[in-house]
Each structure stands twice: as structure tokens, then as C-alpha cells.
Symmetry: C2
Subunit: 399 residues, 2 copies
């Protein structure tokens, strides 16, 4: 069964079970994305000082700005695995390159899973011929499944829009559930488009799009060793090129929408999450201040457990804002849960807010707005509640 | 039943039920500590920008360096309650002063509980005569009970040591369970001693003692609006004065021990905690770097849930260190759980570590040591695991 909605001219996909986490398992855990010809590629990787072997190789190989294939796996992060880990990732990409008859420098590796274990090289290497033979333009969902760890759903996105020169498409595939924090997430994501553009513009557009979405969300505040977001543009000889500013803006808008869609899928699938909450901080003196406050609220365990309990415990939100390291006047704050005003100019509103705010929080998605009334800058963060299930998932993950 | 082990010359204690959280409740929720005469007093209060009315008053009143009484309550933090909150705290301390026939400026207020609700002034004020009448040197445990919120046990400490001029004592009472993070905790604590010393020395000693204990622990990373740590020295006319450096050192050592004892009691009673873990970072280039790494590990949800699962998932510890914002060489790290070596110079040890490390983690208390092998500085943090129970407690706290 192939999914026709998640395909794009110039790219093919494949996935196989390689028994990475457990020998003999039939679970898809190795995926491959291949462009018909080398395409322009730009990436963003983890800010963690401890970064995985595939991240090191990806950074190196993206310097040339070209990429033909992405080899992905779950079940093992190949992180903190030393020189052997780097050699393993190089060997696997070389094997893929040999089977595709391309240069190994055009193959980018991405891994996710447990930190510190060597890859089961023999099992992985022997599945690469099948992986290459299985390439098909309709198999993106299989790749999405192959990179799932504690994710409960595969994550793909497909969006279309128009340029002055005609319609174009951006598709994406990603994973991420826990260890989700800005810069970036335990996130692997590959975004592909059928237009062409120079690497400089693409990189700027990707940074901009991720700063408002994939770099503005948190499940648990942990930044992984393996986060990688890759954008591949082109993929076939007749792909149209972005030249005019209007076309570039159309592309940037659609890329923002694609990244936000992926971000929402990731956060909704946050480990144990029962709520998706947008924390909107506005009226800030500058966007950095807004972002710091939004992030501190979004990461507060007390706020997140109150979300889980559907409890409009607004004092915890104000308290978290107060420790964000941003200077502000507490007596000027306005606070809303959904559209229900709770605090106005630092004072609790006289009307009944408790029951309406509680009703807002019963929904699976809602927003919290903190207006600092001290400027024009704002920031939006996506976060989850913190549930008993999060604890269960992470206490038992390895076993 | 009076507890004779927790008394100290020159101080009396009392507690009453005032129905602060719920009218008519028989639970002790208002406590009073009174010195026979004004004593030297120094304090440390929250770093949260949003601080409660009692904190504002305490800061103001401690400027004089003298204090006679501490009025404490649970059930309501009197935080983010505006001018009314400040007036309420002033009125209550004035009522205490009137009943004790002392200056109101000598009475320090401390509150803990829910943020944003006005104090039930009528119920509280009418209990103050009883509170004063009940003063007794053996009632410190009652005060400890009166300030409990989600604490499951009252927390007191009593230690004796010798000076060149004879024996002396330090006792303390505190509360704190959730919203525990450095600088400081949802913590209220009062420490009393029967020696005299100048305020400057006492403040330095208190900062030093708390930096290694009460300011070096975390349950959930949230810094409260109400944290206050008070040290009262003297309390009667024949209290001995600290003069020699040897005596001052003896006092500082005992104060460290008292603060560490309180810190351990707080962290062991951390909301839902089943493990007390000391995170020791050594071999750091400077103590600030050591502290940052220790704190980041101690606050990582993924590390804390692994502690709960008794899972030696060491990759999460290294990963947390990597995002601490400290520059280090991952290939030089040594990591131990208890005394079991897991990583040496950046490589997993060849011996079996999994089962011995798991055995270490089965105990209710254990340590994790990360040696950066890059200097002589170190830092120790106390933390807890993160359990399903933590989530339950905080999702349901207000209801």
C-alpha cells in the first residue's frame, strides 16, 4: 500500500527492518531517501556539545551544499560511540553510495535512539542492498515509520502553493517525541521541495522557519545529541528556480507552514502528552526577552503538571515568568488562559475566571497569553502537559 | 507532647490552626517563633523577580539586623496579592507585635502556599492572641507542622558542638517539597543559635552554608516567590560571643552541617521522590562550570526519570552535561554511578557495569560522579528522581 499524497517529483524512499534494537525484529528501523540527482541541501544540527557521529559527518558533508541521499535509522543514536561510531557511520554511507553508484560524500547519515551503544553493523550493512532495491516514490510513510522511537505516530507533511511560474510542493518527514527542546529536539527531519534555489537563501529560510516552530517548542527541556533538520531542494533536472523576491517569499511562507505542521505533530505526540499548549508572550521589550519568558513558562514542571490537571493555577505561570532572568514589572502583567482574562495590570480580575479558564483547559489544545505591556515584541512557544505517562515512558524506555 | 530535643535557650515556639486554606480545619497552619529579646538576624530570600509581600517586608526589616519574632503560615503564599497583600502582612505582624508588646519592625513574616489569593485576614488575626499565649520552648515541632504544604514530614534539626568557651547549639526548622530549585526552593527555614556574632560574619556564614546545601538542590527547577532562610543569633543576655577565628570556624562548620541536614530532609521529602541522588561534578576548570553541569544533570527530566526507573541510562547524563553551556572535551569524561565506573576517558568501560550500576540505583540514596578531568574545581548537587507521584501531586494540588 503506497501513499500517493506524500510524494514529490525527483525523490524516492525505502525502509527495511534491520533488527537494530533487537535482532530478528520485523519493525522497520532503517530508512533511505534518495534524490534522482544531487540536490542543493542545507541543514541545522544540535547545539549540544556532545553530538553524535552522524551529526559530525552531516556537518562535514553539507559544507559542499550538495546531497543525494539520506540514510536514517532508529533504535541506536550512534552517539558517544567514539572513533568506532564515526567509522561505522562512514562505512554504512559508503555501502549506500556503492549500491547507488554515487559518491559517498553525497550521503548524509541520521540516527536516533539510545546513546552509547555501538551500531549492530553486520545486521545493518547486509540490509542496504534491499534498502536500495526497494526505493519507490510512494514510500515516504515507511521512512516515517522507520525513524520512530517513542513516537506513537509516523509524521509526514505535504503542502502545495503557487509561484509566479506555477505550482510547487514541499514535503517533509520527521520524528521526535521526548528529549524535545529548542535547539532542537530529539528530532530528525528531512524536508524536500521540487524548486531550486541557492544554498544561502535556503539556509536563511530554514533558520527562520525553524526558529518559529521546531526551535520554539519543548516537551522536557532536554536537547539531544542527534538533532538534525535537513532541507533538500531540486531533485530533478526540470525543477524550477526561485529567482524573484515574490517567489522566494512564497517559498518561505510554505516552508514556515511545513515546519509548523511538523512541530505541531511532534509536540502533539510528546511523550505522554494529553495537551498541546501555545504559550504566547507579547508586549515584551524585545523578542529575546519574550522568548526567554515563553520558554521558561513552557518548561516549568509546575506549569506543565497544572496543564495536565486542567487546573488554571495562574500563580505558577507568573512565578515561572519571574525566574526567567528577564527584567519586567509584575504589576503590569495581563494573563489570559484561552481568551479568559485572569490578571489585568497585575491584579486578579473581579469576574469569575476559574470555571471558564478550567473549561478552556479541558480541550486538547489551548493557549496561554502573557502580555508584559512593555513593548511590541512577542514570541510563541509550543509545549505539552507533563503526565504520569511521561514518567512511565522514560523510566522504562531502555528496558 | 513537647519535644525536648528541639529546644534552645532564649527562644519559644507556638502554632495554631487558623483555617487558612479551609475555614474550620483543625490543621496547624500558623506558627510563631519568638526570641526572649531582639537578636541579630540575617536572611537570604528568593531571587524570583516576582516575590511575595512577606518577602518584601522581611527584606526591609532585616536591614536593621535585628529581629524578635517570626510569624509563619502555610496554605497561602500571600504572593502576587498587590498592595492589599502587603497591608495584610503588615497588619498581621503589627497584631503579633501588639500582643508581644514589642516594635512591629522586629516581626518578620513568612508565608507559603498557593499564589495569588488574599489572606483570610479575619480568621488569621483572631488566632494571634492564642498563638502568643501558647509560646513554649518545647513546641518547635508544632511550628514545623504548621508550615508544611505538600511536605509529608515536619522538618527540624538540632546540632551541638564546642567552642573554646564551651558548648553551643544550632537548631532549625524548615519546610519545602516542590518548587525546589537553587535560589532557593519553596523553602521557609529559620535557624537559631545560642551564640552571638556580628551580622556581617553571620551573613557570610549563611551564604556559604546555603551555597553548599539549600542553594545546591533541585526537585523540579522552579524557584518560588516566597523562599526565605533566616538565621537568628543570640536570644538571651548570657549568650556567648564568637570572637576568635577558631570559634567562628567551629560555628561555620556546624551551620554547614545544619543547613545540609535541612537540605537532605527537604530533598528526601521532594514531591513524589523515591530517590535522593547526589550529583558530584569534579575535575572542572572552575566551580561555576562544575555547578552549571551538576545543576543541568540534576534538573534533566530524562535523567530524573531514569533514576526513578533505576536505569543506569548513562547516555542521558552525558547528554545533559553537553547542553549545560559549559565548554569541555567529551572524550575526557569519567562517569561513575556510585563507585561503579561506566565511562573512562570518554569510552564505555569493557567490564560489566550494567548490573552493578543497577544495583547501586536500587538503594534509596546513591551518587553520580562526573569527572571532567580538566581542573580541580567541583560541585555537589542534591536531586530527586521524577516519579508518577510527582505529577499526581502537582496536577491535583489546588483541588
Amino acid at each position: 500500500l503506497k501513499d500517493d499524497t506524500c510524494r514529490i517529483d525527483g525523490f524516492k524512499f525505502s525502509a527495511v527492518p534491520a533488527g537494530i534494537k533487537k535482532a530478528g525484529s520485523s519493525r522497520l528501523d532503517m530508512g533511505l531517501i534518495v534524490a534522482d540527482s544531487p540536490v542543493t541541501a542545507v541543514g541545522i544540527t544540535t547545539t549540544n556539545l556532545v553530538f553524535a557521529a552522524p551529526v559530525a559527518i552531516t556537518r562535514q558533508r553539507l559544507k559542499g551544499g550538495l546531497c543525494s541521499a539520506v540514510l536514517m535509522n532508529s533504535g541506536n543514536a550512534n552517539a558517544y560511540t567514539g572513533e568506532q561510531g564515526e567509522k561505522d557511520a562512514l562505512d554504512l554511507t559508503a555501502e549506500v553510495a556503492k549500491n547507488l553508484d554515487i559518491d559517498a560524500g553525497l550521503v548524509v547519515p541520521m540516527s536516533t535512539g539510545v546513546i552509547g551503544n555501538p551500531l549492530p553493523m553486520e545486521r545493518m550493512a547486509q540490509r542496504i542492498p534491499d534498502l536500495v532495491n526497494g526505493l519507490d516514490p510512494g514510500s515516504l510513510q515507511d521512512v516515517a515509520r522507520a525513524i520512530m522511537t517513542t513516537d506513537t505516530t509516523p509524521k509526514t507533511v505535504c503542502r502545495d502553493a503557487d509561484l509566479s511560474i506555477g505550482a510547487f510542493r514541499i514535503i517533509g518527514v520527521g520524528k521526535g517525541s521526548g528529549m524535545i527542546a529548542p535547539n532542537m529536539a530529539t528530532m530528525l527531519a528531512v524536508i524536500m521541495t521540487d524548486v531550486r534555489a541557492d544554498a544561502k537563501f535556503l539556509k536563511e529560510a530554514l533558520i527562520e522557519a525553524s526558529s518559529m516552530s521546531l526551535n520554539a517548542m519543548t516537551v522536557d527541556g532536554d536537547t539531544s545529541t542527534n538533532d538534525t533538520l535537513l532541507l533538500m531542494a531540486g531533485g530533478r533536472s526540470n525543477a524550477r528556480e526561485l529567482v524573484t523576491n515574490a517567489d522566494k517569499q512564497s517559498f518561505a511562507d510554505l516552508l514556515n507552514a511545513v515546519c509548523m505542521d511538523l512541530a505541531r505533530q511532534l509536540i502533539k505526540d510528546g511523550e505522554g502528552a494529553t495537551k498541546l499548549v501555545e504559550v504566547h508572550v507579547c508586549g515584551a521589550p524585545d523578542s529575546q526577552a519574550a522568548r526567554k519568558v515563553a520558554r521558561t513558562i513552557s518548561e516549568s514542571l509546575l506549569v506543565k503538571t497544572a496543564f495536565f490537571g486542567e487546573d488554571p493555577n495562574w500563580g505558577r505561570i507568573i512565578c515561572a515568568a519571574g525566574r526567567a532572568g528577564v527584567d519586567f514589572d509584575p504589576d503590569r502583567l495581563d494573563l489570559f488562559i484561552g481568551t479568559v482574562p485572569i490578571v489585568r495590570q497585575g491584579s486578579l480580575v473581579p469576574d469569575d475566571w476559574e470555571s471558564p479558564a478550567h473549561n478552556v483547559m479541558k480541550a486538547p489544545e489551548f493557549s496561554v497569553t502573557l502580555d508584559m505591556n512593555n513593548g511590541d515584541a512577542d514570541a510563541r512557544f509550543l509545549t505539552t502537559d507533563l503526565s504520569r505517562e511521561y514518567v512511565s515512558i522514560n523510566a522504562d524506555y531502555r528496558s
